[in-house]
């Protein structure tokens, strides 16, 4: 029974990783860039949700605030990601591969500090130098369900539900819309795609925005689950989500979901079988093993061979 419970916990955690991992994988699939600052986009999503709540609904806990919070979160994240792409990454597209990676580290540190130093300076908002409490929402937070001896936390159900909805949306978007097909074309061959009349720059921006939107939802989900958020939350979550993306096969969207869930379950089982303190070590160990022995990941993606 304990094992089943850990499985549930693992799937919850994994859903969160999967939502973030999609952002890495979509961007990588198209521009072969590890957007190291994606964890920070996730963090800004959480803060965007909190800001929307504090600005509009302070004091209420009604369920209908949640969709609006999500809209605020997505807006904040997408804006961040699009500006980031335009200002920092686009000029470096033909630069050696070292340059965008270092830029990404710079952006990551910069965004963290921006939130830490200036979030509280906006009138009406609390100081973000320490953890900030996340609002409680009727129906989504509160006592856990118990089904057959297994505890289902309500926010966990929200997270898993979001993943299901987002995955369905992504599938539809990539396979059934013109934009999505253009995306596939660019990821296969950008130059030919351009010749076919596809606006490659716009597709790249779309990829960044898509990943950011999902990360924003994950940010709100994380806030609901942990009851608090802080400016540091993006680093570890980003690293784990990257691990998940690699595990599933980076560049492969379905792989990101599978990888996220797998990583979540592995972590949960690792803390069941050994001391909890080592669970991150297991996750990173897994990352190294996958990169060494199966760099194309579980689901298999383009073979990565880039200097």
């Amino acid at each position: 029974m304990d094992l089943l419970q850990q499985l549930v916990n693992g799937l919850t955690l994994g859903s969160l990783y999967a939502l973030i991992a999609v952002g890495y994988t979509v961007v990588y699939g198209i521009v072969q860039l590890i957007n190291f600052a994606h964890g920070e986009v996730f963090m800004i999503g959480a803060f965007g949700g909190l800001t929307t709540y504090l600005a509009l609904f302070q004091g209420t806990t009604a369920w209908w605030t949640l969709p609006i919070m999500l809209v605020g979160a997505v807006a904040a994240s997408v804006l961040t990601a699009v500006v980031m792409e335009r200002v920092a990454y686009r000029p470096l597209r033909s630069a050696p591969r070292l340059a965008p990676l270092i830029t990404a580290i710079g952006i990551s540190v910069f965004l963290q500090e921006l939130v830490r130093l200036f979030y509280g300076k906006i009138p009406g908002l609390p100081d973000a130098k320490s953890r900030l409490p996340f609002p409680r929402i009727d129906g989504v937070t509160g006592p856990a369900f118990s089904i057959g001896g297994l505890d289902f936390q309500r926010p966990a159900l929200f997270t898993m539900g979001s993943l299901a909805v987002c995955a369905a949306f992504l599938w539809w978007f990539i396979n059934r819309t013109k934009q999505g097909r253009a995306m596939q074309a660019v990821s296969q061959d950008p130059d030919t795609a351009r010749l076919m009349g596809i606006d490659v720059d716009r597709i790249i921006v779309t990829a960044f925005a898509l990943g950011a939107a999902l990360a924003a939802i994950a940010g709100v989900a994380q806030g609901l689950q942990n009851n608090n958020i802080d400016f540091r939350m993006g680093f570890m979550a980003g690293l784990k989500a990257f691990t998940a993306a690699v595990l599933g096969g980076i560049g492969n969207v379905a792989g990101a979901v599978v990888g996220g869930l797998t990583l979540g379950v592995v972590e949960a089982l690792a803390s069941q079988l050994g001391p909890t303190a080592w669970k991150d070590v297991w996750a990173f160990g897994l990352l190294i093993l996958v990169l060494v022995f199966r760099p194309q990941g579980i689901m298999g993606a383009r073979v990565v061979d880039r200097a």
Partner: protein
């Protein structure tokens, strides 16, 4: 995709349309209106210099708390003397274009130098005054006297003169030789000047004055750099590398003697040296072999932990206390072993993946040190508490903790470590340069530029990569064992990811694959935060911004390795020719 991206470094290509301002200002030296334009620019420049000199003798503010008292007329304060020096430099740059000194203009005559100097002087005034106002609460803009505005006007006029001066193709700049004694003298004088500037700058207590001094140095450097002086210097230094190296080390050894037994600056200097030594090690991995390592701090940590665990500390967890030389070797070898373990399987994956694997490894190292506390694993590191009370080093009775006298000058605890670290960094630089100029170094360059082609040419790609990785780890481990003693305690959070990012930033900021650049980068990244304490809260914000801006505008670093520069600007034909010329010159 690449065709739509404009390259900021390729102004020189002929088809490249220049900005309207350049075209307006340039005019070829042969065109008939050039002398008139030269005269006009010359007069404007002279007026600007005159205004600057006047400003230096005027009052800048009636508030004596600002800028170390610049309220007097006719009696320049420190910041005004800086201005005076800059004005004289502007005058010199003007005079070498027209007048008695114009023969020198053949070597230093780029008008961009004057323009940069003018813009710099204006910024200097704004920054110095602005910083002072920001740092002193009771001051405000209203407290400014006309002197400041006269100075700003002067700076703008000098910049305008720089804009208007006709372009002057400095003839044969690259291959101009002077008598060897003169070149050596220049190198030695510059090093001495740098030492004096460092000793003087570190002695400034008032943060506003320190900012002003920094701005002053930056402006002078910018003027010299844009004027082509550093291009000339790099050629000269190329001919007298040993002289520069010896002079630099002599200056570095002399530095503690200028401190008069005070530990305040020496403690900063030692931490800068540890950082610089580690960055030099990373430079072998990233700069020479081109392997991006985001977990390098773990190797420093491995060395430090070995040093701590085998030390005489009461909290050391291993009951074997060999002499330090042995400990240092074990620490370095342990780090190298870790490098091998992490490197040998992962070096098959390249580029970004290697970066992430090393990052993951760095995190694993930190978490492991955190968890080996007796509860979650064997008690080796005392977990988050770390290993404190590591005793001072003691070489054959020479106690590093005590103050010694050296010809009457007291050498303090930090100065002792400073000397030791200087030897260490000298060793690392020696390893670095010898490797770089060997068959191994050329192999690394080949791998960096095209791994497949290198392999096809018979370069032992795997072996060389492993050598870089393990070698770099070895050097970091060595530095770590010293760091454990110098820091007195070792804790896991000294070795987090951000520190690796700082190291990488030092290498990138300074210039990958260069010695001077990385040392400069390390000094900037470590020294400035220590001196600018009032800035502490914004330190990381600026750090992040700096990385982004560097990658955008000068990815090759402050001191660029020519070959590296070409890798970042691969459509710059002029640069390609230059690199080839230098290369063939070396060979023949």
């Amino acid at each position: 995709m690449s065709s739509s991206v404009s390259n900021p470094g390729s102004h020189r290509a002929e088809r490249d349309p220049r900005s309207w301002r350049d075209r307006l200002a340039a005019g070829s030296p042969d065109s008939p209106d050039a002398p008139a334009q030269l005269n006009r620019a010359f007069v404007i420049g002279l007026v600007g210099v005159a205004l600057l000199v006047a400003s230096a003798f005027m009052s800048w503010t009636y508030n004596p708390a600002l800028l170390g008292n610049v309220t007097l007329y006719g009696n320049p304060g420190t910041v005004q003397i800086y201005l005076l020096v800059m004005a004289l430099m502007a005058l010199f740059l003007l005079l070498i274009r027209k007048g008695p000194l114009s023969r020198l203009g053949r070597h230093l005559g780029r008008q961009t130098g004057l323009r940069a100097l003018g813009i710099g002087i204006t910024l200097y005034l704004v920054i110095a005054v602005g910083a002072s106002i920001a740092l002193t609460d009771d001051a405000m803009l209203g407290a400014l006297d006309p002197g400041v505005y006269v100075g700003i006007l002067g700076g703008l006029l000098v910049a305008a003169a720089g804009h208007l001066l006709p372009t002057h193709k400095a003839v044969g700049e690259r291959h101009q030789r002077f008598p060897a004694w003169l070149e050596i003298l220049v190198v030695v004088l510059l090093v001495a000047l740098a030492l004096a500037a460092a000793a003087y700058g570190l002695g400034i207590g008032d943060p506003a004055l320190f900012v002003a001094f920094l701005a002053f140095v930056a402006v002078i450097a910018a003027g010299l750099a844009r004027g082509g002086f550093f291009d000339w210097l790099s050629i000269v230094v190329g001919h007298h590398r040993t002289v520069l190296l010896l002079a630099t080390f002599a200056a570095a050894f002399a530095f503690p003697l200028t401190q008069n037994g005070s530990d305040a600056n020496m403690s900063i200097a030692t931490s800068v040296l540890i950082f610089a030594a580690t960055a030099m090690g990373l430079n072998i991995v990233v700069g020479l072999a081109g392997l991006l390592d985001l977990g390098y701090i773990a190797f420093l940590g491995a060395g430090a932990y070995v040093g701590a665990m085998l030390s005489e500390s009461a909290f050391a967890t291993i009951d074997w206390k060999p002499p330090f030389i042995i400990v240092a070797l074990i620490g370095a070898l342990f780090a190298a072993l870790l490098g091998l373990i992490i490197g040998s399987p992962t070096l098959r994956v390249s580029g970004d993946y290697l970066a992430i694997v090393t990052l993951a490894f760095g995190e694993i190292f930190r978490l492991t040190m955190f968890n080996l506390d007796g509860n979650n694993g064997p008690d080796l590191t005392h977990g988050p508490n770390g290993i404190p009370a590591i005793p001072e080093l003691n070489f054959f009775g020479f106690d590093f903790g005590a103050t010694h006298a050296f010809f009457g000058v007291p050498i303090t605890r930090f100065a002792n470590y400073y000397f030791l670290l200087l030897l260490l960094i000298g060793f690392i630089i020696l390893v670095f340069t010898r490797l770089n100029n060997s068959r191994i170094g050329r192999g690394w360059i080949a791998i960096r530029e095209d791994e497949k082609a290198a392999e096809a040419m018979g370069v032992n790609v795997f072996g060389l990569k492993i050598l870089a990785f393990a070698g770099g780890a070895f050097l970091a481990g060595l530095a770590g064992t010293v760091k454990a003693h110098q820091d007195v305690s070792v804790t896991p959070d000294q070795y987090q990811f951000l520190e690796s990012a700082f190291l990488l930033a030092a290498v990138v900021l300074g210039g990958m694959g260069t010695v001077g650049g990385v040392l400069l980068g390390a000094v900037i990244l470590k020294l400035l935060p220590e001196k600018l304490r009032f800035f502490a809260d914004y330190r990381l914000l600026l750090f992040g911004l700096l990385l982004v801006l560097m990658m955008r505008f000068r990815p090759e670093g402050l001191v660029a390795n020519r070959r590296r520069q070409l890798e970042f600007h691969d459509d710059d034909e002029a640069l390609a020719d230059e690199v080839e010329a230098i290369h063939t010159e070396k060979v023949t």
